[in-house]
């Protein structure tokens, strides 16, 4: 299992509440802005998309790439972050 970043650990540690989308692991300033422009301004909106895709990894990664242009590592980080959050809180 690859090691997780501090951002990942911070996100997964507590309910996301109103955290901005940039709080997600793998989503920095640039990607966060792109997502926000498309309407995904909060982390829970991205969570919504993740759940609508039934937590499927491939679909979520494709979607993230489509919407924000994330590369493979960023996609993986974001997916992992959301998945773990769901496992803990959903």
């Amino acid at each position: 299992m690859s090691s997780t970043s501090q951002k990942h650990r911070d996100f997964v540690a507590e309910p996301m509440g109103e955290k901005p989308v940039m709080a997600l692991a793998g989503i920095g300033d640039v990607l966060g802005k792109r997502l926000a422009d498309k309407g995904f301004d909060k982390a829970y909106v991205v969570l919504g998309q993740f759940l609508v895709l039934k937590k499927d990894e491939e679909l979520f990664r494709d979607w993230l790439k489509d919407v924000s242009g994330a590369n493979a590592k960023q996609q993986g980080d974001c997916y992992g972050c959301l998945k773990e959050w769901c496992d803990a809180f959903l």
Binding site: Q49, K54, D56, N71, A72
Partner: protein
């Protein structure tokens, strides 16, 4: 369009006439009994009503969609021959499907899809497209005689891996388009290209394998990459963290570090037993070289020895200074001289024996 009545007699004669003319039904000239018009109405219009939903007809409107589907299937089955050529005349245009149809099509291919909403529709369309592209490619390759991909794969000598690799291709190529062109260049420069250049799909798989293995050691020099690659293939993900080994021959480091260090330690120990002042001068460059490369444990040991020697030497000098007797000093000097000469001889012998010789001595002196 208004639904036609089953029992037109409820209408007045005039209304019947109007209805008939409105629907282009020829009316008999002159005035007739209402019954006539009712019959006409029944004949022409009520039948039309039925035509909309035929109970048991050979032509059913429901089958309009699947009928061309079947014919298209057979057409596309013979049409697509090349792997590179991916015709869009598949069963159905994925973009034209309704949400439900899309869901059904995906279910046919064994994909359990979630809700097809605005945000998810595009993804599912893509997925279905992929699935539709795959099956026509697979069964055709072995059956079609004139198929080029088969010839290609025969040249490469591996049919199955091509088919399997396509899947990998699309999944990973979609996910990692960026590293592919970047890594292709170093792959070519390294001379591993001959196998990879032949077919585009095979190249991509080779490159993709190396992407996974090479993502981490991109910074390492070429001489070390091979070692790292050999290590990384064994791990499940292909990615493992390896300590960055210091590059040999760089930054003044000797080419064969381990052997050199071992010799130095032997020399160090022999010197320590013979004379103290000489050992100190030798151990300094020796330990410098050793601590630069060798494991930390041995570094500590040499450091400890060094300190010990230093203390002993200082102690002896102090003792000598205290006495300040010329006779004693002279005798001490004589003893030292008698010891130093054979010591030098042994050191030189050892150095030449081990083959480092003057170059090593020069290095140690230079540092």
């Amino acid at each position: 369009m208004a639904e036609f009545l089953e029992d037109p007699s409820v209408l007045t004669k005039d209304k019947l006439k109007n209805e008939l003319t409105a629907n282009n039904v020829p009316l008999p000239s002159g005035e007739h009994k209402k019954e006539v018009y009712v019959q006409l109405y029944l004949k022409n219009l009520t039948i039309l009503n039925n035509k909309k939903s035929p109970p048991a007809d050979t032509f059913s409107s429901d089958e309009e969609l699947p009928a061309p589907v079947v014919s298209n299937k057979s057409r596309s089955g013979r049409k697509a021959t090349k792997k590179t050529d991916k015709p869009r005349t598949e069963e159905v245009e994925v973009t034209d499907l309704t949400d439900e149809d899309l869901k059904q099509q995906l279910a046919k291919h064994g994909v359990e899809s979630g809700p097809i909403v605005a945000s998810t529709r595009k993804l599912y369309e893509k997925k279905l497209q992929k699935l539709l592209d795959q099956p026509p490619a697979e069964p055709e390759a072995p059956t079609d005689v004139t198929a080029l991909p088969k010839a290609d794969s025969n040249q490469n000598g591996n049919t199955n891996s091509d088919q399997y690799s396509d899947k990998e291709d699309e999944e990973i190529a979609a996910a990692e388009p960026e590293p592919v062109p970047v890594v292709e260049k170093p792959v070519r420069s390294r001379g591993k290209a001959p196998v990879t250049v032949r077919t585009s799909s095979r190249r991509q798989t080779k490159v993709i394998e190396e992407i996974i293995t090479e993502e981490t050691p991109k910074k390492a020099s070429e001489s070390v990459v091979e070692d790292i690659l050999a290590n990384e293939i064994s791990t499940p993900t292909g990615i493992s963290a390896t300590c960055r080994r210091p590059i040999r021959g760089a930054a003044g480091r000797p080419v064969k570090p381990s052997e050199y260090w071992l010799d130095e330690s032997r020399v160090q120990h022999s010197v320590h037993t013979e004379s103290r002042s000489y050992s100190e001068s030798l151990s300094r460059p020796g330990s410098k070289v050793s601590t630069g490369k060798a494991p930390v444990r041995r570094g500590f040991l040499s450091l400890l020895l060094k300190l010990l020697l230093l203390v002993v030497v200082c102690g002896s000098l102090y003792y000598a200074y205290q006495n300040l007797d010329s006779d004693q000093i002279n005798t001490l000097r004589g003893v030292l001289d008698s010891v130093i000469v054979p010591l030098q001889g042994t050191v030189d012998k050892a150095a030449t024996y081990l083959g480092i010789g003057s170059s090593g001595a020069q290095e140690s002196i230079g540092e």
